[in-house]
């Protein structure tokens, strides 16, 4: 069944090993495709490089939020203890920084951890109830033992014949069209 190309998301090849999908990704990149993604049951080392993906900026975002947490946590304690609500406890100094360490650390960790988790979820576009790739027949194997490579219709170099030819040379288990 061939669909109307305008309603097509892309062409998907299924492989049964991570090595095969990695090899196919390399081949596809060499052939000049850029709008593509691979779908695998577990992370495959080097697959992001093979698909020409830049490293994630997650680490820098987390570092920034962690530093913000540290400053905010320390400030909260300093402001409350010295200015807003000073408590004289046995004449001890109000700005006794060693006692601020624990809470500063906890707030740093709290903010960094939630940034890491929520940034990952948000940038991955989750929660997302619908994605065209789920229209691939047999895509439930992508969380079990199937390794999928999709070259998307929106790729500037997309040409059905060329993509099929490329896939044929990479020994896929199946090649399928996916509806948008």
């Amino acid at each position: 069944m061939s669909a109307n190309p305008s309603e097509r998301y892309g062409l998907v090849a299924e492989y049964d090993t991570p090595e095969a999908v990695l090899e196919a990704a390399h081949a596809a990149r060499k052939a000049g495709f850029s709008k593509m993604d691979a779908y695998t049951p577990h992370p495959v080392e080097g697959l992001d490089d093979a698909l020409g993906m830049k490293p994630t900026q997650l680490g820098f975002v987390v570092l920034g939020m962690g530093l913000l947490g540290a400053v905010a946590g320390y400030f909260m304690q300093w402001y409350s203890a010295t200015t807003f609500y000073p408590l004289n406890i046995g004449g001890r100094p109000l700005h006794d920084w060693p006692t601020y360490v624990v809470i500063t650390f906890e707030i740093t960790v709290l903010l960094s951890a939630f940034t890491a988790g929520l940034f990952m979820i948000g940038r991955n576009g989750l929660p997302r109830p619908y994605h065209s790739i789920f229209n691939t027949p047999g895509f439930e194997r992508a969380t079990r033992d199937g390794y999928f490579l999709c070259i998307e219709q929106s790729d500037p170099n997309f040409d059905e014949g060329r993509v099929r030819e490329l896939f044929a040379g990479t020994h896929p288990v199946a090649v399928q069209e996916v509806q948008a």
């Binding site: 990704a25 993604d37 992370p43 909260m76 408590l87 906890e106 940034f119 997302r128 079990r144």
Partner: protein, 478 residues
């Protein structure tokens, strides 16, 4: 090398994962018991769940009685104002620490054996923290205003005293609880997607599909996921150390003889890991058997957990020694009397010697490989360790408080029925949650197991094991 072909064939192995595991096999073994209909729930599950639920009932009755009557139902009073609620709080939260250590520290140290046990250990952490966190709140006297502890703009114009270890405690525990839940959930997302795709009924597809948030396993998603997971591990590791150090400082910052001691934070952390690994074994040994997970949770895991239990146990025992040495070396009369009272006191001396029996004598068989590889022996030793660690907190909290400075203010402590009822009930809360977890969610991180199995099968991983076997055959020079 025996090749295992079906999920029904099981061999006890010392490898991290039994040979011949494939992605499909792992999914089937782990996910089938989760996805079967209610009528096919195993009998052992119903029995365990019913007992847990009964104990949870006891917990609820105790809590209602506590709230309607007041903290006077407990045995603690001056001079022993901290007793069972604090002992049980520290005990439960200590148990939780092994889960974080397994999932975070062993990930950072690239220990492949973590993968089989991290998911249920993380669940254990969360449930233990839930149980633990409720104790201080219930002990407040007016639990319904517990939010007064938080720094929030309020009409009283007041702020918490951030220089108090009890305020540190609140931050440490709430951060620990929320980060643990996040870490657990992030780890679960790909596994929930696996369940969504394997589910047969529409209801299951809907529930697991919603929880999986639409995860599709794309390369870009995995890239961010792995970075986020690694960072969460790197943040959780120091977090877990900080939590128990902070709890130790609740004691160490005070002036009570036996509490005011710089060894407390590291010694408390070691004790937490010790008790935590005991609980991991208490849960893993029946679980692997009940669900037939011997191919995935192998003898290697039991062996390693036992080794860690032995190592941390010996650190804890060293801590007991340091405490006694410190009492003598300080030259402080009250510290020396405390040490004497702790070891030889007529009231609670028995607790110290029972503690030595549980935490020092009972773990010594773990030096032998044969014991470490005998599940029932490990189970028995773990029970001893759990009791020992409870006694340790009893000795630290109660014995120090009964006789501190002025003989005129000395007193004794006897737990009441409600002290014990709440403690027994807390097991109900913990195990109810745990039984629900093992029935409704995969108790093994299938995604990570697939990666491990693939690595094992194709790249001949477990190279350490191969080298060791070759060494025993005499092929590799020492």
């Amino acid at each position: 090398m025996a090749v295992v072909t079906g999920s029904g064939t099981m061999v006890e192995t010392n490898r991290v994962i039994a040979p011949g595991q494939t992605s499909g096999l792992i999914d089937d073994v782990v996910n089938t018991p989760v996805l079967v209909g209610p009528q096919r729930t195993p009998t052992w599950w119903w029995i365990g769940f019913s007992i847990s639920l009964a104990l949870l009932g006891l917990y609820l009755i105790s809590v209602v009685h506590l709230i309607t009557t007041g903290v006077g139902i407990f045995g603690n009073n001056q001079p022993v104002s901290w007793a069972m609620p604090i002992i049980n709080f520290v005990w439960w939260i200590g148990i939780g620490h092994a889960g974080t250590l397994i999932s975070a520290a062993l990930l950072l140290f690239r220990q492949p054996w973590r993968t089989s046990i991290n998911r249920f250990a993380e669940a254990m952490t969360i449930f233990a923290v839930v149980v633990a966190g409720l104790y201080p709140i219930l002990h407040l006297g007016r639990p319904w205003v517990f939010y007064w502890l938080l720094p929030y703009p309020n009409t009283f114009g007041m702020w918490p005293n951030f220089r108090s270890p009890l305020a540190w405690d609140l931050f440490a525990i709430s951060t620990y609880a929320s980060v643990s839940v996040l870490f657990w959930f992030i780890g679960l997302i790909p596994d929930l997607a696996t369940l969504r795709d394997a589910a047969k009924s529409r209801f299951q597809k809907l529930i697991y599909g919603t929880l999986a948030l639409g995860w599709n396993g794309s390369a870009k998603a995995w890239q961010r996921y792995q970075r986020a997971y690694l960072l969460l591990a790197a943040l959780s590791f120091p977090l877990v150390l900080s939590v128990h150090s902070t709890i130790a400082m609740d004691f160490a910052v005070s002036q009570v003889p036996g509490w005011n001691n710089t060894v407390m934070p590291p010694y408390f952390v070691a004790g937490a890991v010790f008790a935590g690994f005991a609980m991991v074994l208490l849960l893993a040994i029946p679980l692997r058997r009940a669900y037939g997970l011997q191919n995935l949770i192998t003898m290697r895991h039991l062996d390693n957990a036992a080794k860690l239990m032995l190592a941390t146990g010996m650190i804890v025992v060293y801590g007991y020694g340091v405490e006694l040495f410190y009492a003598w070396y300080s030259g402080v009369e009250f510290e020396i009397f405390m040490a004497y009272n702790r070891v030889l006191g007529a009231d609670h001396g028995w607790a110290f010697w029972l503690l030595i029996l549980c935490n020092l004598v009972a773990i010594q068989p773990l030096w032998f490989r044969k014991v470490r590889q005998t599940p029932w022996a490990l189970f028995l030793i773990s029970i001893f360790v759990s009791i020992g660690m409870w006694l340790e907190r009893f000795v630290i909290v109660v014995v120090s408080l009964t006789k501190d400075f002025l003989p005129s203010s000395w007193g004794n402590y006897v737990p009441t029925f409600w002290d014990w009822a709440l403690y027994a009930g807390s097991f109900g809360l913990f195990f109810t949650l745990f039984f629900l977890f093992i029935r409704l969610l995969p108790s093994i991180a299938t995604t990570e197991m697939k990666e491990l199995a693939h690595h094992d099968a194709h790249h001949g991983s477990d190279s350490y094991e191969k080298i060791r076997e070759a060494y025993y055959r005499g092929e590799v020079p020492a």
